[in-house]
């Protein structure tokens, strides 16, 4: 067990409880208590997953991927709307996004694929085509939800595993060159009969490009979020003293926008402190992956670390106005059950890989 990582997860989560207490204006029952309860369950879940042998997870990998794909197809037809998109599945009182499952499933499936593939075939066209399809399938299922952001993230996550697995640089260079062309095509399709993304998604992009355009509409969130961050200054306004969050100027202050309250109340020190803790998690994972003798475990660790990275990076980039708002929560901190479970589950897998890192196959 990678104990420093466990402790770091606990510290960040505890910080999250504190913030949920603060944004509820001192109401412990409102958000902090249910979040702690979920965390306790998730934490146990993480430990259990961690202690289960990595070979078990290797065997599970294709199943997780295909269950994810099945759920994505299912949600397209039977999902619930939320935030303008059909992306939620509901089981009783438990709501979750299948796109969370597929992120993990994709990483697992690609890890076992490259673990199985002979290293010298990695850059052969046919053996590149297969993982490309593995990545494209969920991406293509997520984008029409519509969820352009998550679709892009899934694609990026898959590509990073292909990269780490040793795919030739030229493939990525080529992909990088294709990207502007694809973006151009998307914008070109706007307003035509074959429009590639929905008006809702274009609206989000517009808001991102010019948040002040409609300060009370979609851009309101981003404008208020920047005010909260900026007014926090170096040291912040103090615990529970953030006027922007305490006076309800921040929408979604307990979920996707909770980072603004952290930065408002604890300032630059608080915000950067959290970023550093997240970064240390990434460093732990990269080190664990490099020292892992088990290829599956290594790729799994690096892939899940990337999933974790995309969570907090996209979230903070959005609230600081650097990226469009895509509805990605701040991992371990934002209020919400399914994201918390998924994140703790990935840490369980990372632990399992770490524990069995010396187990060399072949």
């Amino acid at each position: 067990m990678h104990w420093p990582l466990v402790i770091l997860v606990l510290v960040i989560a505890a910080f999250g409880f504190l913030m949920l207490y603060s944004v509820a204006e001192g109401d412990f029952e409102k958000w902090a208590r249910p979040q702690i309860e979920r965390f306790v369950i998730g934490f146990a879940f993480m430990l259990i997953i961690g202690f289960i042998h990595i070979d078990f997870w290797r065997v599970c990998s294709p199943f997780v991927y295909f269950i994810g794909i099945f759920l994505l197809i299912f949600v397209l037809f039977f999902g619930d709307y939320g935030g303008g998109a059909r992306r939620w599945l509901e089981f009783g009182s438990f709501r979750f996004q299948p796109s969370e499952v597929i992120k993990v499933g994709l990483v697992m499936f690609l890890a076992i694929y490259y673990d199985w593939l002979q290293p010298e075939k990695v850059s052969k066209i046919f053996w590149v085509f297969i993982p490309a399809m593995i990545i494209l399938l969920p991406t293509a299922l997520v984008i029409p939800q519509p969820d352009l952001g998550t679709g892009t993230l899934i694609a990026i996550t898959g590509l990073t595993i292909m990269f780490v697995a040793g795919g030739h640089y030229l493939y990525f260079l080529g992909g990088l060159l294709l990207l502007p062309g694809l973006l151009g095509l998307i914008f070109y399709s706007r307003g035509t009969s074959w429009q590639l993304v929905t008006d809702y998604q274009f609206g989000r992009i517009d808001t991102f490009l010019n948040p002040t355009h409609d300060p009370l509409g979609e851009g309101y969130q981003i404008t208020q979020s920047k005010i909260a961050l900026g007014s926090g200054g170096l040291e912040g306004k103090g615990f529970m003293q953030g006027s922007q969050s305490q006076l309800d100027f921040l929408p979604q202050k307990h979920t996707d926008f909770i980072f603004t309250t952290i930065a408002e109340e604890f300032g630059f020190f608080g915000g950067v402190g959290l970023l550093l803790m997240y970064s240390v998690i990434i460093i732990f994972c990269v080190v664990s992956a490099i020292t892992n003798k088990n290829k599956f475990g290594s790729l799994l660790t690096i892939g899940l670390a990337t999933v974790f990275f995309t969570y907090f990076f996209i979230n903070i980039a959005a609230v600081t106005g650097m990226a469009p708002v895509t509805g990605v929560p701040l991992p371990l901190i934002s209020y919400g059950g399914s994201a918390m479970l998924v994140v703790l589950g990935t840490f369980g897998l990372i632990q399992s890989a770490h524990i069995h890192r010396l187990l060399k196959r072949d």
Binding site: P119, E120, T160, F163, V164, A165, G166, L216, Q224, K226, I227, A228, L229, G230, S231, G232, G233, L234, S243, Q244, L247, D248, F249, A263, G267, F268, G271, V272, L275, Y278, S279, I282, I283, C285, V286, A289, I290, K293, K295, S298, L299, I302, A305, T306, F309, F313, I316, A317, T320, G321, M322, D362
Partner: protein
């Protein structure tokens, strides 16, 4: 086997390298986030702190109460009335038509009014409050306040609205207030933050305007911490407003009311000056208007009819009406002549009905002529030929100089907009304005207060006040500010011999009290209230020689616009005078017939403090006078009962 394991190690090395590159890339991206936070939180922090404060703090302006205007005896003339009103802010209402619908389910709000409000909301910026309804009852106001949570963007407010108690009677003096306009802002040089309040009421006319800086008060501020939905969380700071200052005018509202009723049927004005203080107890101008209409807001139609009315009810004739002073000016010509030693008061001048100079005839009002007259008789009978002779002898320069001493053509400083300077023509004035040489004919016309000469009823009253006292009486309108009496400047003695004044005063006494005097019919028989003065009938048309032969048309035969102005300027009592008066009745006909009786009634009211007793009037006039006075008495009583 060896080879394979070697290649495996190489591949693991490659994986490690790639993983390192990926991790490093992610850390660089984190670096971008930190850089962005540095930008927001350290470099631009001040800007965002300001914005956060703007979000958090709602500054509400507390408009001050406007100062109250009283008359000289402490009767309120302009007060503030509570006005419960609702305004709406679009930005906070989100959907104004829905909010208005909710309001109309609580209180009466007509559909047409709703449409008006919505179109006004569209026109204005989203943060500017738009009035929904004014003057609602307390019950309705409470209804709205209780239901405020379901009425986003609605501001229930209690504001104070100006209310004028003497409606028509003091409209010109008090004036009225109105919302500040762009053009107002241009004319006001001092920057008072209060003027930035939208819809702030400032004085537009009258002393409301002239004394606006006293009446206005200073603005207060209240800072509330509010949450995103605008709910007040707590009060942070309050800077109370301070009321404007209360003003006591010199006006006696009872005298003013009497005078206004007395001249109700004319286009006329009455100015009374208190000779001791210079205070103006009466400044009446007829016809008038109701200033409350301006505060409440009137229709375009009402406004047009007020503005375009032939009688010009909006004009304050007493201070801005320019009239030829006519014969009331003759005293000044006489003084100029006596002081210059150019006439012996006993010297007789023959009047044959006209005066001829270089083939031009200047007629006396009495076409048959007055015969031989001395100075006192010249004034008493208002002989024009006598004054043609005198004016030519004295010359225009001396007349101008003397006129200035008595305030003719001079500025009058009163806290009222629109005080006219009149016009005192001189040689240099004619030259610079008409490029003409001054000729004797001009002097002759000036000698009887005609020609270019123009003065306001106020100036004529000032002239009479100075003639009656020999002092440089300066009129004023403000008795006290916030209860503190306004000090009047001590009056200087006019540099004219006492004996000269005695002669002129004797002549003015004779005008009213000698059988041949032009105002003999308007004499007062009460020995303590004896009236003295001078009539004036200023001709405003040219009478042709042909008409003179056929017989001059009487005023009654002329269209109203061509009839003479009737003037009377006088004072009372003759011994130890207390009040000076000037009465100008536009196109009223003869001064002795129309203006002098008005002056007598008003002066008697001023001296007795009530509707004058009949025993002050000559016995043979009492029946007629009673009719006039009773009519006014009835109107005053009616007004009182109407007010409750």
């Amino acid at each position: 086997m060896e080879r394979i394991s070697f290649r495996k190690d190489l591949l693991n090395k490659k994986l490690g390298r790639r993983a390192f590159v990926l991790g490093a890339t992610q850390l660089v991206l984190v670096g971008f986030l930190i850089r962005r936070m540095r930008e927001l939180q350290l470099q631009e922090s001040e800007k965002y702190q300001l914005l956060a404060e703007e979000n958090r703090i709602d500054i509400r302006i507390l408009p001050p109460k406007r100062g109250i205007i009283f008359d000289g005896d402490g009767r309120p003339l302009a007060k503030n009335r509570e006005n419960y009103r609702l305004r709406i802010i679009k930005e906070k209402a989100k959907d104004p038509s829905e909010v208005l619908k909710n309001i109309s389910s609580l209180i009466l709000l007509r559909d047409e009014r709703k449409a008006e409000i919505l179109s006004e909301i569209e026109r204005k910026k989203s943060y500017i409050p738009v009035t929904v309804i004014e003057n609602i009852s307390w019950n309705d106001f409470v209804q709205i306040t209780v239901n405020l949570p379901s009425l986003p963007g609605i501001l229930p407010e209690v504001v104070f609205k100006r209310f004028y108690l003497e409606d028509n009677f003091l409209a010109h003096v008090i004036g009225y207030v109105g919302s500040i306009s762009e053009s107002d802002l241009k004319t006001i040089s001092t920057i008072d933050p209060i003027l930035q309040i939208p819809d702030f009421q400032i004085g537009k006319v009258g002393v409301e305007k002239g004394l606006d800086s006293f009446l206005r008060g200073t603005v207060g501020l209240i800072r509330h911490e509010v949450n995103a939905s605008g709910r007040v969380i707590r009060k942070l700071h309050e800077d109370p407003s301070s009321s404007g200052r209360d003003i006591h005018l010199t006006i006696n509202s009872l005298l003013q009311e009497f005078a206004m009723y007395r001249i109700e049927e004319f286009s006329a004005s009455v100015v009374v000056i208190d000779l001791e203080t210079g205070g103006i107890p009466c400044l009446a101008s007829s016809p008038s208007f109701d200033p409350n209409q301006f505060v409440e807001g009137m229709s375009q139609k009402d406004w047009d009819s007020l503005r375009n009315s032939e009688n010009q009810p909006l004009a304050n004739r007493a201070i801005s009406g320019n009239y030829p002073p006519g014969s009331t000016f003759k005293m000044l010509v006489a003084i100029a002549a006596i002081e210059a030693g150019l006439v012996d008061p006993g010297e007789l001048v023959n009047c044959s009905g006209f005066y001829e100079i270089s083939d031009r005839k200047f007629h006396c009002w009495k076409s048959s002529g007055h015969g031989d007259k001395n100075l006192v008789e010249g004034i008493q009978e208002s002989c024009d030929v006598y004054f043609y002779t005198l004016a030519l002898r004295v010359g225009i320069d001396r007349i101008v100089e003397t006129s200035k001493k008595f305030g003719i053509g001079m500025d009058v400083s009163l806290p009222l907009p629109g005080v006219s300077k009149g016009l005192l023509p001189s040689k240099s004035w004619l030259k610079s304005n008409y490029k003409k040489q001054w000729v004797k004919g001009h002097t002759i016309n000036s000698g009887i207060g005609q020609g270019f000469l123009l003065s306001t009823p106020l100036q004529i009253a000032i002239m009479i006040a100075r003639l009656a006292t020999g002092l440089e009486v300066k009129p004023n309108l403000v008795k006290a500010i916030d209860g503190k009496p306004v000090k009047n400047q001590s009056k200087r003695i006019i540099g004219i011999k006492k004996t000269t004044f005695s002669i002129i005063q004797k002549a003015m006494f004779n005008v009213v009290n000698e059988k041949t005097g032009t105002a003999y019919k308007s004499r007062v028989v009460d020995k303590s209230k004896i009236l003295a003065g001078k009539t004036g009938t200023s001709q405003i048309r040219k009478i042709s020689e042909e008409e003179r032969v056929k017989g001059i048309k009487k005023n009654e035969e002329l269209p109203r616009g061509q009839r003479d102005h009737a003037l009377f300027a006088g004072y009372a009592p003759f011994v130890n005078p207390k009040y000076a008066i000037s009465v100008v009745v536009e196109h009223g006909g003869g001064g002795s017939k129309v203006a002098a009786p008005i002056a007598r009634d008003v002066l008697l009211f001023a001296l007795s403090g009530a509707i004058p007793a009949l025993n002050a009037y000559p016995i043979d006039q009492r029946n007629e006078v009673r009719l006039t006075l009773d009519k006014i008495r009835e109107k005053i009583a009616l007004k009182k009962t109407r007010r409750g």
